[in-house]
Subunit: 349 residues, 2 copies
Amino acid sequence: MSITIRDVAEAAGVSTATVSRALRGLPHVDPETRERVRQVAAELDYVVSPSASRLASGRTGTIAVITPFIDRWFFSSVLSGVSDVLQERDVDLLVFEVGDPGTNPGLPPERRLRGRVDGLIVVTLPTDAMRVADLLMLGLPTSFIGTTWEGSTSVTIDDISAGRVATQHLINLGHKRIGMISGRPRASTSQSHRAQGYREAMEGAGLAPDGSLEAYGYFSVQGGEDAMTALLSRPNPPSAVFVMSDDMAFGAIRALQRHGIRPGSDIAIASIDGHELAELLDVTTVRQPVVDMGRTAAEALLARMVDDATEPEEIISPTTLIVRGSSVPQERTAQVAGSQGRSASSGDA
Amino acid sequence: MSITIRDVAEAAGVSTATVSRALRGLPHVDPETRERVRQVAAELDYVVSPSASRLASGRTGTIAVITPFIDRWFFSSVLSGVSDVLQERDVDLLVFEVGDPGTNPGLPPERRLRGRVDGLIVVTLPTDAMRVADLLMLGLPTSFIGTTWEGSTSVTIDDISAGRVATQHLINLGHKRIGMISGRPRASTSQSHRAQGYREAMEGAGLAPDGSLEAYGYFSVQGGEDAMTALLSRPNPPSAVFVMSDDMAFGAIRALQRHGIRPGSDIAIASIDGHELAELLDVTTVRQPVVDMGRTAAEALLARMVDDATEPEEIISPTTLIVRGSSVPQERTAQVAGSQGRSASSGDA
DNA sequence: TTGAAAGCGCTAACAC
DNA sequence: GTGTTAGCGCTTTCAA
């Protein structure tokens, strides 16, 4: 069939062991020998057989990303960041889309992972602790993104701060009845942290969070629209709403428009994400550096795979409040429409 | 280390060969034996070693998706569809993000693919024919998405028709000066087909396509905005524009808004894609079933991998024109058409 | 229907 | 610095 290490060894007049060493850049190889082997390998257009190499070495050169979705902004951005660094380092990326926990149809990937990968990146699997524990039982180095996990490396934003910053921004604008659209009833720690930030800001301003001003948007555009519609139909609707994701904020804005309410000047919206289209839709948001978070998680994982002694760390990515038209000062809506992107940073490692 | 086929064989009192056959559902195994082996394997929680199996069989049980991007709507949707069917069939999905042709930093994946996968899905690599030819030289079954390739399976929409339908829709609305925003100077066949559809519709209506009404939007939101801005600054701007992708249409609409021009009533827009947010932004678009296209391509590929005799086929996915607020009948706007119509607008939806 | 045995192509001790 | 030699854990003839 194809060229094997033996062909290279013969052509170069050395043993297969030497070829292996030379090509992998291991020490204890004469520079001349190494060069000759390289030359010959190149001429023959030799490529190591991954299966053979994996079987013999026990390493797969592959990492898996476990993600609920592929085709949503947050997740595809993360994937792209991960892919970036893996490709640089010549590591294969295996993707497992596991769907919403609960609705999940596919088998748990745990058995499908054994012997296939050297490391794992788990993207915001909402508190489906059982499943995550199964994954960890594989004993592989693991990085989490968007969620922390005791004893594991993770890359998140400071969700409490993000919720607080967005809410405080609305408070600073003069709002007092500030609602909240969150994801789903019992979701991730990330979600409860954002809610906590919201409450902290409210209480810090002497405002009582009002349960009747909260609704679930299920992290989707449609869900956000429904949630906002629900809030608008309450006896005493909010004058501003903190929304936990840009997608839901988009839906919320559509709901406002359908009710003839102007986003920003009539009811203010602030959310979290930094979705590409938030600018287009003029949505105030706390941006999280999602692609970078993917990169960071991948780098941390590779570091741990190379050097097992590396300690797991909880990495906090910085966020930035980006003020746009969906939040304008309460009493002065007629005044200066405001510069685009007055922004302030928060959060550091 | 972990349980091997030998452990199972011994525990079941058969040879490893029988275990292998039994577990893979091959014929010529006594039903009782098979059941016993299954039982034992389950008790031992045995999982075949992929590396060993791959080395021995020469099959990898893996397919690769080669895509310019991961984190854009079209591509992540395709990936999601592909992932769906692969996961059902227990096939691993390897993702290679190769970036924009030209700007491409990563090595050509061709060498990285050898021996790693049993099949390939190539997603709209714009006419970077050299690279594609390299990929095909691997001799692997290959499916294309968004592009056709002589002698290969492909899943596309009828791009000519899509361009024609979108343009005809604008014509039907009464527009005569219809511009076009396309991707980039020499891009994919898909792009030139859409342009051809545009011209066919124009000529069919006795309208002369006007080169001064065409601009490039580079398939991005920002690019679409720039392109529309450029069109608006031409001596005699269009009253309607056919835009080749929703992302660019979003940008185009922003450009209109920044110029105080109402999308739809002042200048009409129709595009192609069916992006999730096109509904939110009220954009008329020819929807392509992107997730399904991914599924279809994966299924076609698997079919060819199983049965080499399967003929390659060019699969055309159906499209649907979805009319929204970005294109409304011309009569209502005839008085402003043709000039840089500005009209004070008050919020209607 | 089952088993014995020969690899698949490479890596990793261990000698030299 | 380099070669020899065992495997890695499975699949697949070929015989029985």
